[in-house]
Symmetry: C2
Subunit: 426 residues, 2 copies
């Protein structure tokens, strides 16, 4: 990796622990990712991105800022990326996915709170995420109690704008959400000094839809048996989707898909045909939260789909591109971004329908219901998921865990037993 | 207590564990309540209500139901009691406040979830709450993730209507909330077969405001030094407010206040003048969740105010009684019920203002910030409360606990040290 120390130093990164963090990440990546067999060549780009995880992209963002550009950090798929682009900004998903800055976090947050929330506050308080430090504005949301209340504290450390995501999807909720979309537009325009116009929004929608189409294409290639790419590699691409440059990323995903299509034609896969096929559903997984997929894919199974925000929920819906006015395009953006079925909604039957559709389309043998500790929305909704799957005769394994490795041995045993059961069933 | 076994049996109560529950409650009440010194005579009625806790009132509700009346159970101060009354129904707050039915609950809910939620689901699943079993409809809300998602499961066991409480209080939120108020009216009218009219709503507002005025009067008498009533007794009255008959309760509270006024005039109190005065703020306390006030008031302090839903938040706001039409009265109800400052809102500066006002008006020496385990909204907002109070120089003690007695010894030590510090300071 080139030397980014002066950049990090300029951003106020705490260099020593940051160096330790990167030193821990790269061997983990080696073990989890580079040890995989039959990887597609097109993964080289994504390996490069991880190798440069706090480097090149951060450099790009800061070059953009030096020219007067504004960077907006987001945490959630409900924050419309289109609006940031259309206002002339660049958006970036923020760091989480690892235990970090715990001592600093526990001085401001309760100990028993979701590891994702502890992680992003830890990155901020310990000054270990150059993306965070490159942001001119953070856009939070009210999708869960923990995040909603933590953004209030985060606002002591950085400029924060919070979008209210409604809890149902009825007419008054849609109106509330459209008002929130308009408020975000105003805030972004104020930030960048540029107007969101019909043309700029249309172009942003086009770019984002192209990215979503590429991700859908990638996802759909995994319907093949054997799948041409591992669940780990697919997850990595979805994780990188949140912070890479949109057009470059879309091009690289499409190039990978060309290769994967060829693989599918030739029957080349990452596992033998007939390998038990898993769907993972639940709370999102930020880099480097790879524990569960790594355990699953070294237990004789392959993950073929993710009903996660770092998966299907991120790219399932396109924004309608037709619209006669800016207002109509904003309505399209609002409609598209209220569509995914996060457990923050009540009731949330659409999620069960998505799971059922993914099971059929991806010929899934078993489901892992993944819940981060203390994540009430997904932990409680697990009951509905399990009831639904049991009624359909689909095997389901609940995995409740955090970012530590303490339970890895026990999880491995449970997952192996689950995979063995699937193997005997199929 | 008269014999209510046949009534409970008819309601489907699981009689043996229910008898054990009551057998545990009454000695606890004896120890916590009846051992208090200098209690006002007017507490006799409230002692009687607790003695009859699952008896007389349940009998009344079921006599009402036999005449065709409908009973509506609620969990939260945002559910407007006025609307239930105006539709010809009776509302009742539901059981919680004690560890119960845990084995049944943990089969459907995650183990690490708020004790209040586990408790109400435990009461329902184990069939131990005759109020639950007397309800024709339960009205839930979306004030926290745990409750929001648990109501979906509860709907498998009883008819549930969920109100969406918005997360901010801006214009679009007020519109959403008014729509929710109108949806509840429609649901209640369907349930009772009676229309909410201008006259019935006006009368209901009048009754509820009279109750709130009586509770305010009670609260304000506690400004005296020494206070004429203990925090434990005041809390009990606020707890009973959620399920007793409105007019009888109002009358009894006012009769007690007459006595308390006389006490204040004569300088009679429940503790010596100069006893350290506490404000308790945080998550609500349902009967018999008396652990914290009992520990505090046997540690040489007196609680003079509660910034809780079982306290100030319940009666601080009156509903505007003037309005030329049913629609205007409904707007008044909506406005009043969005006013209290629950930690479900973001940001929630109004709560800090309330706390500050209570500290001044009630001459508070120290604040206990009370958080039920795994209650993210209050647990995270504690940070804001503590920061605010420290800036004002007001001592604050955070107490995070559950419904068990395991931590009672440790809490007692911490509270005694806090009270001793207040004593030296004043």
């Amino acid at each position: 990796m080139p030397d980014y120390e002066s950049l990090w130093s300029e951003l106020g990164i705490d260099l020593k622990p940051h160096a330790e963090l990167l030193e821990a990440l790269l061997p983990l990546y080696q073990e989890v990712y580079l040890s995989q067999k039959n990887r597609p060549r097109g993964m080289e780009y994504f390996d490069f991105v991880v190798g440069e995880i706090h480097g090149l992209r951060v450099q790009e963002l800061n070059d953009f800022r030096r020219q007067g550009g504004k960077v907006v950090g987001t945490f959630c798929i409900y924050v419309p990326e289109e609006l940031v682009l259309a206002a002339g900004g660049v958006y970036v998903g923020l760091c989480a996915g690892v235990e970090v800055g715990t001592a600093q976090v526990e001085a401001v947050l309760p100990r028993n709170i979701c590891p994702l929330i502890k992680s992003f506050m830890g990155f901020k308080l310990a000054r270990l995420c150059p993306y965070f430090e490159s942001c001119d504005l953070l856009v939070g949301e009210t999708t869960c109690d923990g995040k909603k209340k933590t953004f209030e504290i985060l606002a002591d450390y950085a400029p924060v704008h919070v979008m209210e995501v409604p809890q149902k999807k009825e007419a008054p909720d849609q109106e509330l959400w459209l008002a929130e979309i308009n408020k975000l537009v105003a805030r972004l325009e104020e930030l960048t000094g540029k107007k969101v116009t019909y043309e700029s929004l249309r172009e942003a929608i086009r770019q984002l839809n192209a990215k979503r189409r590429a991700l859908r294409r990638l996802a759909e290639l995994r319907r093949a048996d054997p799948p041409p790419i591992s669940g780990l590699d697919a997850l990595l691409i979805f994780q990188i989707a949140f912070y890479d440059d949109v057009e470059r990323f879309t091009e690289k995903v499409n190039a990978l898909c060309d290769e994967l299509e060829e693989r599918v034609r030739q029957g080349v896969g990452v596992v033998p045909p007939g390998t038990p096929r898993l769907l993972v559903t639940g709370t999102p997984m930020a880099i480097p939260n790879w524990k569960l997929p790594h355990l699953a894919e070294t237990s004789g199974a392959v993950i073929v789909a993710e009903e996660l925000c770092t998966g299907y929920r991120y790219f399932q819906n396109l924004t309608e591109e037709e619209g006669g006015s800016l207002e109509e395009l904003l309505v399209n953006v609002a409609r598209r971004h209220l569509a995914p079925h996060c457990a923050c909604f009540t009731p949330n039957g659409g999620r069960l329908e998505d799971i059922e559709r993914l099971i059929q389309e991806y010929r899934v043998d078993g489901v892992i219901s993944y819940v981060l500790s203390f994540c009430d929305p997904y932990a409680v909704e697990h009951y509905q998921v399990e009831k639904f799957l049991k009624a359909k005769g689909v095997p389901v394994l609940k995995v409740e865990t955090d970012y530590s490795m303490q339970d890895a041995g026990q999880l491995k045993t449970r997952i192996e037993a689950f995979v063995e059961m699937l193997r005997q069933k199929t």
